[in-house]
Symmetry: C2
Subunit: 276 residues, 2 copies
Amino acid sequence: MSPSLPVGPTAQTSCADCPAALSGPCQWFAPCLRDKIVAASIHRRFRQGETILPGGQVPARVGIILSGLVKICTIDEHGNDHVLQILHPGEMVGDPFGASVPFSFDAATDATLCLTQRAPMKEAFDRHPDSYAAHLRIAMRQQLELHFAQLSMRGRNSLQRIAYWISTQTPEAGPDRVLSVRILLSRRDLASLLEMTVETLSRNLHQLEDRGVIRIVTPERLEILDATRLRLMARFQDARLKDALQRQGWEWGARAVNLPRFSARGTRADQPTLRQ
Amino acid sequence: MSPSLPVGPTAQTSCADCPAALSGPCQWFAPCLRDKIVAASIHRRFRQGETILPGGQVPARVGIILSGLVKICTIDEHGNDHVLQILHPGEMVGDPFGASVPFSFDAATDATLCLTQRAPMKEAFDRHPDSYAAHLRIAMRQQLELHFAQLSMRGRNSLQRIAYWISTQTPEAGPDRVLSVRILLSRRDLASLLEMTVETLSRNLHQLEDRGVIRIVTPERLEILDATRLRLMARFQDARLKDALQRQGWEWGARAVNLPRFSARGTRADQPTLRQ
DNA sequence: CGGTATTTTGAACTATCTCAACTGGGGTGG
DNA sequence: CCACCCCAGTTGAGATAGTTCAAAATACCG
């Protein structure tokens, strides 16, 4: 078993169709290190509702989601839990550096995870400082996603939030090119994620149906009849964001918007930052 | 100017009382690199409401907040902006690795920032891979804070949210040991941050006063009369979280809570993860 | 089929928003 | 110096989205 072989025999079967193979941490490491990690990995199936990692724990392993959905949730003092975020295949459960997160990670659907011992992974990180940068990028991206999720709630009513959520789901194109979305989450989880009661969720879904935007085939299967109107209702801001990304060449403090009463006051003296 | 000198003459005045001196990125680097960065830094004052960094820009500099508060905000299509997060002295504005963030950073109060050219800082990061780890830790902490902020909204009514916000502020002990809080944010910003209108904010503050929990000395100065009741109203979960952190020795999938219909079904066959 | 869990519907209730008017302090200009 | 203005903050009253509680309907599974 020479260390130059990319993957060992056990790994070959495991990693061939791994959704994290391209995005996850496994590919940051040199083959020899990767082998070690793979050797320390196990696949494990979790049933819907099962707790994968309870809050406040520092687990001996980190997990990468292979299939299914994982919900980050917190249980308040009344026993009702709030879904904060949904994690998809390829994303990580648990911090590889051993930080304890005070939220519980539960299987939102039946799910399989690739569990890796944290110790060898930590070692691999230390030997490959580059991997820190890679992991950092991912962390920043997740934070950005969180900000967006937060944004998708602000100033939106329940109908708009559902419309938004549906339009973020990647639809499957059916036989006659009808776009359909499968709701993998239970009504309870989805309602909690979208900050509303199951009742309003149900009512609003049917309101969307009444307005001819979607069709509820079965409770877990929707057809999107009017994608444009759906996005309008969701107040999708793609356009605005793209615009923002295109404006270039900004410098610090070059523009002041939203001036309250200071507009006329104050010295415009020191503007040390323009150019370079 | 030998590279072994910890700080150059310009820096000495600047960095002596820097709030980021202990927590910020400056202290991750070796003195010689730090000098270079300090040489490329400028202090700059921003007035309340001034835009420090508009959304979607990749600035040539990153800033560290020295004093004042910075709001991360986004302007929706109707022109009203939503405050997503408040940054405090010591925290960073702009990504040192040049990621463009689609949110605008505005001065919530008059504020001073230490602006550093991104290029030399990036260089310092690359030469000191350890600094990646340090920065990663900070990123994770910020993400955790975000999750908490999100949590502080869920399932809470406006009164509870204000109570929560007040109890997160660090109070100053007055002369006769009366705890007082200075509200640096405008009502508009605070209301936006807490997801309510200025009217409800005002009403709820006065309701807290009527209930004898706080006293509104001036619109921007509160006295906390009953800290215990305030925390109760805020539904502070410190206790629960501490509990969670104390439970140790957890392993993956050892416990299943919240079992829906799968409780009786399914094989309990493969539990490959216990011990080690 | 029969029992159970989930989803949907209904109707009363309530927190929050909206719109509009009022207040008071600080700065401005006569 | 005083009157005025302007704006942030406060208060009031009506409108409404969303909750709550309760019950019916549907889907799921042995």
